[in-house]
Symmetry: C2
Subunit: 78 residues, 2 copies
């Protein structure tokens, strides 16, 4: 069974770079990667915060939030 | 041909978590991942800085530095 990984972003240049390099580099045989745009899908903000996401871009996997560089704080997306 | 990715760390808990989750999740059929401990291999500090690494843990791939959360600044390792 594949492990789920969620990549949260907001369309910013820093986000796009992280998505194209890091998120897309994950092993597709082990990870099912979901891409969530928090700028357009604000209904997912609460879930992201609960997972420990403080800023985007961020990758949530193995129960932890990994912030990849800094594009925007979550507060800026509310 | 595989793309090279270098994961720089310093043995800190934040670094270990990022290594075990993010670095080890990269697709091995596309990426050759090298793990560099900057705390013990200070000869690689200059190279890391040149690649744009400001703190560890960081992943350098596709010509860009992706800082994953924050463990320690590079200056603390000199």
């Amino acid at each position: 069974m594949k492990t789920k990984a969620i990549f949260y972003h907001a369309g910013c240049p820093v986000c796009v770079a992280a998505e194209q390099s890091v998120a897309s580099a994950l092993d597709p045989s082990r990870y099912a990667v979901e891409i969530v745009h928090l700028g357009t899908d604000k209904s997912r903000l609460k879930e992201a915060e609960s997972a420990g996401v403080k800023s985007v871009p961020a990758l949530v996997m193995d129960g932890a939030a990994f912030h990849i560089n800094f594009g925007a704080g979550l507060d800026a997306l509310k």
